[in-house]
Subunit: 340 residues, 4 copies
């Protein structure tokens, strides 16, 4: 039986989500909803079988609708998600889940109480390349210890007046790091600069400290003409680099091996590079995979790696980094909170 | 007339300096000096015309000797440099110049008072690739504004028990950043972790703030099996990457251009990538160039970009970053000091 | 006014052509035609406004239809193209235009006599990257002379029992070479081997000699797991490489410069590498561009670089190379024929 | 006991050989010989312990001299090598061994008769990266069958008036191919063009056919500003690329796997790329390794992969390719000769 879905917000990322849900055999794109008639008009031809409406209530009041996808501006995410859940429907929310931890936790709690799926579009945690990285970490292939990881998300993109590089680019790397490490962060900090528009950071360096001692480092920028989309994880035996700008070499694994050496003054531990391995990664689009996962979660209620709880911790990190950003990079301790 | 030089300390980097000075037509390698006879014995065959000695005084007392090269362990740099200057000879000191700003300033002042050359082996500021980068910045080819720059110095190298990644790797990138920006930094901070040996940071992230608003960011690590030696400078019109691991593509210039764009919600400034240009860079070794420069400075007393004053600011930054490192990354303000 | 088009043959490449013509504002996909009902059924949902039929005559008899696209198996190309032209309609033919020069010339002559457009899908001659290469050659930017060019088309693809690597992969590089050089070839040769299936060459090396002395060299293979799609042109002053496997660096230009040098025995001419330049190339899909060009040619009758005459010379080269292939690489002279 | 060696010919490559032999602990560089006093003078300082002479007889008459290295112009190789062997000394000859097969065979026969080592400086067969490739082939890791291999040796180098690209660049790739395949070639052909100097081919394409059906293809050029030094071997299961321009990635192995597939018209065999593996290769210089091997062969008379017989087959291939080059690429059959 097909899952019936409606998409709300068709101005920016929404049409991509609509198209992907529409293509899934197990899913029916029942509604396209946007406040702006002219935005709806742009997409009518693409989805001839869907109902187009400016009223969210048309969706909420339809008892045959299973789930709603929220792709509206970020400040509206949490309230719309709550409305959807209160109407007894599952919800898929564009990232970030909310602008405040309190709001994110509200969505998460509501989903848990009602026994409904709330899933955030952290699509990179569904990327086949990062799945390979996660598998290596979990099987201990990077070595007994994971030392640190760092993400590079740099390019010349769309610079928004109302969202800085941290909130715009950060959710990707933060969600990936939390998922790869599998721990709740204990402390974060961030510094940044606003070169193009006063008060809107266009380059941000962030740091996430995990209880085990693992560090995650972020480099986010809208100023670099050489596009980078990378996540590097360094363990005691191997390093793995995920590079989303590569077409055929998304994942590269570097071996190493410690070589003790003695020198005249001081003790040395020499380590050298070894073999390099580039596994074949399936080329499936992460956006397709995240949509499939939502549809199957609605059907079988299986947990997902980007559920409301995961989305709420990402918002917590973003909020704490913003606090640090405003205070010259002072470290901000995260609550041990019941939320995650 | 040939400049007569003696090299002190032949255990680690000294032989490379000795070899390079020995090859210069305008220079005579008069002495090789080390406290350890067995170290001297290893190099006698390579420099058959030089006098080998364990006594520094043999060099200092030789009135025909023009200059002394100090390649001994770091803690001895400042004292030995002062001894050399007090003996009326020019001095070339391996990096870093000293362990404390006070010591570095002492060397610098002594050289100034005596009218002698004190030069630090910040060899990257003599690299033809970085000279091309500096030229682009100075001619305004990166645009009206330089936004920020970042250095990556990561590899599996020799891990020392007595020197962390900041002091071991940092002098390279710090000296390059100070030279490229041409300003005295106003504030620095650093965070780091010690994975291999307690108390010795093997991965360090640093930040240098310049009065003009330019930010320099450092990523130093001994843990990464994929060797990186990069410096990236981002200006308002272009980005330039210096990559010392490339053999034929040391310098890459990326064009960009702002494209105004209007969207439904919010104002956007879109910027896109443009042409890429890879200028031909002469393949001359920086080590040879820094040695040539010292010999010519001794001959003509022309100022160098890595004189005592430059070396002292590098030590100031290292010292302030160490303070920040010990205090969870708290920013440390640099004095406006008379020293530089 | 919209150009009305029908696509014949939907089993392999046809659907891609149908989709691209369907998307063009100036074009209406009036018919989808295939002998096999089940093939038609696979595509009905994608083109809801088109008429689906197994009868080619439905298209030929429709006076409102402007043009027909032939994407059927290669042996049928020429006959179907002639039928279309005889019905007074323009024709777009998948590559190669025919299996024999005689057949190709028949299509070309018919189109000329009737004043109709016959265009072959040599889509690479519409590639923005190769347009940049062609521009450089035509403006003399590679130097006074073009020396030689070579194409690499290697990968693990679909190995067909009924078509060797020459006929399957060759039309791309041959059409590009003829277009870039702008001369009728005087002589060709080819050697090849059949490793996977007796009698079907899966690796072929070919050579095209042009009257000006320029040589084109082909390396075609189905056996190489590292996919290559490259065309390199070497001129007296510069070399340009078109690499279709690159996403952001499709075209790379290498400067050089002669440096006279005298040595003890013999005369030397030393030449060295210079700057490298990577121009920004628009990312438009060549398939979209070739379809646009056909539609506009139908509308304005402007000549195209892959007209029937161009398509016929490609077939002539393929036929002569086949002859050479069967005779251990013996060079085969091409007629100076009136056909091109 | 040390092997005593003399080097003859110090104008071009000889000094590199002299330096490498001089550095070996097991070898003593007893003589440096050249007809030109001024050439000798350039090198006296580098080898203070060697005897410098313009008389070859000084070497041949010295009963304590074990071996002679011939680095003179190519036309003199064979005669000088015979003189050395007739004087009862081992000989190491710069490549190619001779200008004609007859001369090469003369050297080879003389060495065999006298029980002396004759070794040719085909230094690539001692390259650690190609040793890894050879190991993979011999252990069957590229699959049951080796299909074909191809070499690229392209750059802007020294263009000689008296030697074309085939004779100057070809010995490297030909010696490697013969050694990798381990068969005597049955047929060769070559085509080429002379762009810079009439009658001296500066770009050559060659083809070597082996009895087992393996094909070797050569692309030799002095015209390409992008330097290439590559050897690619394609087997039924894997492809391996040796790229000597890479510093850390000399050898790359590409996996593949056949996937049967059925389509509507025709039978298909689809094959796709798999994992990529880049083994760590020791960084030892091949020139050092070839010198070590000669010295140890002199000491223990162990056979080498570049002995006189191997050197003679390389000359046979060069000679036959020259014949083909002069005859528009007509295939030339190689004798089954007793010589190898």
């Amino acid at each position: 039986m097909s899952v019936r879905i409606g998409v709300v917000g068709l101005n920016y990322w929404g049409p991509n989500l609509a198209r992907n849900f529409d293509r899934l055999a197990s899913c029916e794109l029942a509604y396209c909803c946007d406040l702006d008639e002219s935005v709806l008009d742009r997409h009518r031809a693409s989805f001839p079988l869907s109902t187009f409406t400016t009223r969210l209530d048309d969706l909420l009041e339809d008892d045959t609708l299973d789930a709603v996808v929220i792709a509206t501006p970020v400040p509206t995410h949490a309230n719309l998600a709550c409305k959807v859940l209160e109407a007894g429907k599952h919800v898929f929310v564009e990232k970030p889940l909310a602008l405040t931890t309190a709001d994110a936790v509200r969505v998460e709690n509501l989903a848990r109480e009602r026994g409904l799926i709330a899933m955030v579009d952290h699509l990179l945690v569904y990327h086949p390349g990062l799945a390979a990285v996660k598998g290596m970490i979990d099987r201990g292939e990077l070595g007994k210890d994971t030392y640190y990881l760092y993400g590079n998300r740099q390019n010349l993109g769309i610079v928004r007046a109302d969202e800085n590089a941290l909130w715009s680019l950060g959710p990707h790397d933060i969600s990936v790091m939390l998922w790869l490490v599998g721990e709740r962060p204990s402390e974060v900090s961030a510094t940044g600069e606003s070169y193009l528009q006063p008060g809107v950071e266009d380059v941000v360096f962030g740091r996430i400290k995990f209880p085990s001692g693992i560090i995650g480092h972020l480099h986010l920028s809208w100023l670099d003409p050489h596009k980078m989309r990378k996540m590097t994880v360094i363990g005691s035996e191997r390093m793995v680099v995920f590079d989303d700008m590569e077409t055929e070499r998304k994942v590269t694994v570097y071996d190493k091996g410690p070589i003790p050496r003695t020198e005249t003054y001081g003790e040395y531990i020499q380590v050298r590079s070894g073999d390099i391995h580039i596994p074949k990664i399936p080329a499936t689009e992460p956006l397709r995979l995240v949509c499939e996962r939502f549809v199957s979660a609605v059907a079988d209620r299986a947990p997902t790696p980007s559920d409301g709880a995961a989305g709420a911790v990402v918002v917590e990190v973003l909020e704490a980094m913003s606090e640090s950003l405003a205070d010259s990079g002072r470290p901000v301790t995260l609550s041990t909170g019941v939320s995650a």
